[in-house]
Amino acid sequence: MKNKINKRLLLRAFSATLIIILFIACGFDLLTDHGAYFDDEYKDIKSSVINNTSSVKAGEYANFTFYVKAIANEEKTDKLIIAFQAPKSWTEGKNAEVTWELWNDIGVLRPMELLTTSPKNKPGLTWDQALLNTVGGRTQNVLDDMQWYAFQAKDSWTIYNNINLYIKVRIKVKTGPDNLRVKVGFFVNHADDGLGSDEDRWKVIWGDCFDVTDGEGDVIDFCEYHFNQVSPGTATQNDILTFKYVGDYYTNDLMGEVNNVYMNAVAVTDKGNTYKMDEISEKTKMKKDSEYGLTYSKTFWSEAYFNVPQGETITSIKYYFVNGDKTKYVSDYDEQHKTDATQNPGGGVKPIEPFVYNLICK
């Protein structure tokens, strides 16, 4: 009996020593058949990213689970890195609880800590900047008000050549005050690679759309295109705003009006006054974003654009898109009826229901 206990103790000590001393530099794969390795409540979901719930109330904690496979091909001491991308309004992202566990050591949650240094292969850049530069173009979100938070394992870790490791990552993060829909991004890497050029050594993926409800303001939809889009998602009168007309995601009346799209807008202030900018001119003309596609933009500083006098504060901007002779337009009415077989079933003049952008900063 004594001999058995000693052997077990020795084995545990040996395993612990291995975990601390050595980590094999490795590649990563996203693990979709995690059910074969982790007998948990998500074992039947064939996705490497799980939103533990589909929604939470604003300000509550959201939980995500992320499964990866590490593939060893050389031996080296190193540490696991996990990052996630969330809306900027989730300012508590830096305090998220991120842990990882191994398939052969289930229940042992290994801690991770926020990284404030640069990735090894992107000196001078924060992880957020480096990830935006490297994988920003692959985002599954249509708005850019998002931020990466990178975490590094506190302990080093051991695997041997040609042995696969199966890892479960848990992320618990407090959501912000905004009502929104977003696809949270996930990234895995190891410290010694530090976002190098070999993509076998890191992986990135975005989860399904996740809803934050019962919060402030209109729903900010990171997940799907609409005819309208505004950046940044939250702003004051002293921010520069970009309004976009996304003309090619659904059939609409302005699709044929190439380089002939204008923005008709009115600013509403805290004193109840309204300031129109509805002229057809270079000032209201929207610029085509690229040679391809039908997305047009207008960027301005709202206080000057609407000529709002000092002492008044813009609270919202109501707007729609129109062609040069004002015979065709796209408003929120079109957005709400985009899937209808007949977009104006009642006939006659199509109603104009402006989009509304509220200037809110929490």
Partner: protein
């Protein structure tokens, strides 16, 4: 063996004399110059603008904005756009040799606003890069200012 030792001794003496003679030609200039104080004076316009890391320089007209830093530590803004401060006032810098923070204090204001600053020469032109939050705290703007030459 004795001959070898003598040769070795001679070689060592020669080496020692060379080393000591080199010190006789030591450059009197120790090249330990101080970093020069960064000069912000003059008129500056926006060469590049970004919002939350996204370049918006071509998205709207930034050309009219101008800030003048005077040697007496006052500044003047013409054709305001969202910036660290709106009114004219005084400026100061945390370290004239290695500046990292530029402080603006509007006239008649008790509080100061701070911008980060980088002072660089790019393609032979002096430029300063300021990062600041003029509106909602989520939104960071970076202006690369270029000195007006004439």
């Amino acid at each position: 063996m004795k001959i070898l030792n003598i040769k070795l001794a001679v070689l060592l003496l020669l080496l020692a004399s060379i080393v000591s003679s080199c010190s006789g030609f030591k450059d009197s200039n120790d090249y330990s110059t101080d970093e020069f104080n960064k000069d912000l004076s003059g008129k500056w316009t926006i060469g590049q603008a970004s919002r939350n890391g996204l370049d918006i320089t071509k998205a709207m007209d930034f050309s009219a904005f101008m800030i003048t830093f005077n040697a007496d530590k006052t500044y003047k803004i013409d054709n305001y756009l969202p910036f660290v401060v709106r009114k004219n006032g005084t400026w100061d810098i945390d370290d004239p040799q290695y500046p990292a923070k530029l402080t603006f204090k509007e006239e008649s204001s008790q509080s100061a606003n701070v911008s980060t600053i980088e002072y660089l020469i790019v393609n032979g032109e002096r430029q300063i890069t300021l990062s600041f939050v003029p509106g909602c705290h989520n939104n960071v703007y970076t202006y690369v200012l270029k000195r007006v030459t004439n």
